[in-house]
């Protein structure tokens, strides 16, 4: 009976607090992502018309505000987690960082073979995809 209960507990896998935290994160994250999208459109729309100088650099970096807001949302989410959840998030983050470093190094070496250099904006998606894939795999492993 106890064993059954503990199994159904792990099946649900989320406590009400965790669910609340996840909702809060989703809210903050989508807010930040919306801001990012708007700032990106503004930046892309006006960058060509702006003369070279500090203004152009500032306009180019405008979407970074949304990007940093997304990171702040993520860090806040992690800080609200319990020890166990935080630990496996951090493990996934570390693996994602390492995978990104290896993948970008391979791309960098391919440049020597004549492959044109890829924009640095692709590093972020690689990190986040690796992070997401790792989270899914880890969740399955711990279940």
């Amino acid at each position: 009976m106890i064993a059954r209960e503990s199994i159904s507990d792990t099946d649900h896998s989320c406590t009400p607090t965790e669910r609340k935290n996840a909702r809060r994160y989703k809210f903050e994250y989508f807010g930040a992502a919306g801001m990012y999208a708007v700032l990106l459109l503004v930046s892309a729309g006006f960058i060509d018309r702006t003369p070279v100088g500090a203004g152009k650099v500032a306009l180019a970096l405008l979407p970074m505000i949304g990007m940093i807001a997304m990171c702040v949302a993520l860090v806040r989410f992690i800080s609200r987690m319990d020890e166990f959840q935080r630990q496996y998030f951090m493990t996934c983050g570390a693996i994602a960082g390492l995978v990104t470093a290896i993948a970008t190094m391979a791309l960098g070496f391919l440049e020597n073979a004549g492959v044109p250099p890829v924009s640095m904006t692709f590093v972020w998606p690689v990190t986040m995809l690796a992070f997401g894939a790792c989270l899914l795999l880890m969740r399955r492993r711990y279940r």
């Binding site: 930046s43 892309a44 960058i47 070279v52 152009k56 650099v57 306009l59 180019a60 970096l61 405008l62 979407p63 970074m64 990007m67 940093i68 990171c71 993520l74 630990q87 998030f89 951090m90 493990t91 996934c92 983050g93 570390a94 994602a96 960082g97 390492l98 990104t100 470093a101 290896i102 970008t104 190094m105 391979a106 791309l107 960098g108 070496f109 391919l110 440049e111 020597n112 073979a113 004549g114 250099p117 890829v118 924009s119 640095m120 904006t121 692709f122 590093v123 972020w124 990190t127 986040m128 992070f131």
Partner: protein, 143 residues
Amino acid sequence: MITQPSSPSAEPRHTPTEYRLFRQYRSECIAAAVVYVGLLLVSLRFVDRVSLGPGKVVVALLPMLGIVAFSIAMLRFFSHIDEFQRQTTLTALAIAGLVTAIVTMALGFLENAGVPRISMTFVWPLTFVVFGVCLPFVRRRYR
């Protein structure tokens, strides 16, 4: 609250097993670095002379063996250290991954302002410099 021993010599900072692990990790890293440098020199010397095709790609990617060896040494080290050290190391690496993602994104946006594209090979050093800077801070915070 446990008080810290007043003199640093009162308690050794690492156990003999930890010292052995550090030494082993260091020698594996040095071996990986030597392999990497050797293969990089070979790759850079011959990549221009090899005709376009899979051979050129293989020669360009040759130094990746050193990078992968280094990553394996690191993962082996992580799997042997104690829980506390693993947690701090993974946290520092996760922070490094996030900082790398933010910095590369900013660099990517600067490309829109006319800054030339940087080689992807700079991502790896960036990650590991941030990792090295973060590690003592994370350790201090958890201690």
